[in-house]
């Protein structure tokens, strides 16, 4: 246990040290990570609640967020999405789909030189508006884009 204590003291709880401690199997993973998963927001069933629970209620519409996603997704189980933003000092990017059972899909913090860019793939059960929230300098910005789905991604 002494080694763990030293690690934590040294790092002051910095996430890098935490990751090292995790990898070394010094910390029980569930305890260390669980607090970092925004359960309330991920379990919100309405878009408005999800936005509120990630602290983005009343986000300003922005044309500076570019969402690259197909107009029509042939397979709702794998919808590619690429987000870039020209908003200076972007700290986080959140992805939401209005008609999904739980709208919030991902919340990503970017630090230490990570660019305001993210590329991933998500599921959607039906045609829906996809929203992207970018936080920068204590403010929230939002942009939307509709993606049509021909085959749903949830029923299988």
């Amino acid at each position: 246990m002494d080694q763990l204590r030293r690690l934590i003291l040294k790092g002051g709880g910095a996430s890098g040290v935490l990751a090292v401690a995790l990898a070394a199997g010094l910390l029980r993973p569930t305890g260390a990570f669980a607090a970092d998963w925004n359960k309330t927001a991920f379990e919100s069933k309405a878009m408005a609640d999800a936005l509120k629970n990630i602290g983005a209620a009343g986000a300003a519409e922005s044309a500076e967020i570019l969402i690259k996603a197909p107009d029509i997704a042939e397979n709702g189980a794998v919808v590619p999405i690429e987000v870039t933003t020209r908003i200076a000092g972007a700290e986080s990017i959140a992805l939401l789909a209005e008609k999904n059972p739980f709208p919030l899909m991902a919340y990503i913090d970017l630090t230490n030189g990570a660019e305001a860019y993210i590329n991933t793939r998500f599921k959607m059960g039906q045609t829906s508006v996809v929203k992207v929230v970018v936080k920068a300098g204590g403010k929230s910005y939002i942009a939307s884009r509709e993606v049509k789905v021909t085959i749903g991604g949830c029923g299988g």
Partner: protein, 104 residues
């Protein structure tokens, strides 16, 4: 234990373009077994952390709406060839995986 991740990196104009493919079922908890009518229990990656030279660059919280075998692409400005990239994830059942790669 979890299958290995696939990591690709490419340096473009002073920034590292990184793509990580994690092998995971990403079960939503919504899908039902057609015979029993029971929903398959949710099983999905909740947290992903990426570090470059032990500094966190990306800390992601994911929901079950991210596709099976999640892909995460991101870019890190100022990263150099040889920098140490480490990715770790943990899912809702406490399973976890970690992988390292040198940026090239």
């Amino acid at each position: 234990m979890a299958e290995p991740m696939k990591i690709r990196t490419k340096l473009v104009d002073g920034s590292a373009h990184i793509a990580v493919l994690m092998i995971h079922p990403m079960e939503t908890g919504q899908r039902k077994d057609p015979r029993s009518g029971q929903a398959y229990p949710a099983h999905f990656i909740q947290n992903v952390t990426a570090t470059v030279n032990d500094k966190a660059v990306l800390v992601a919280q994911l929901g079950p709406a991210i596709s099976k075998n999640p892909l995460l692409g991101f870019r890190v400005k100022g990263a150099k060839a040889g920098d140490k990239l480490a990715i770790s994830w943990e899912d809702n059942k406490g399973e976890r995986a970690r992988a390292e790669a040198a940026i090239a």
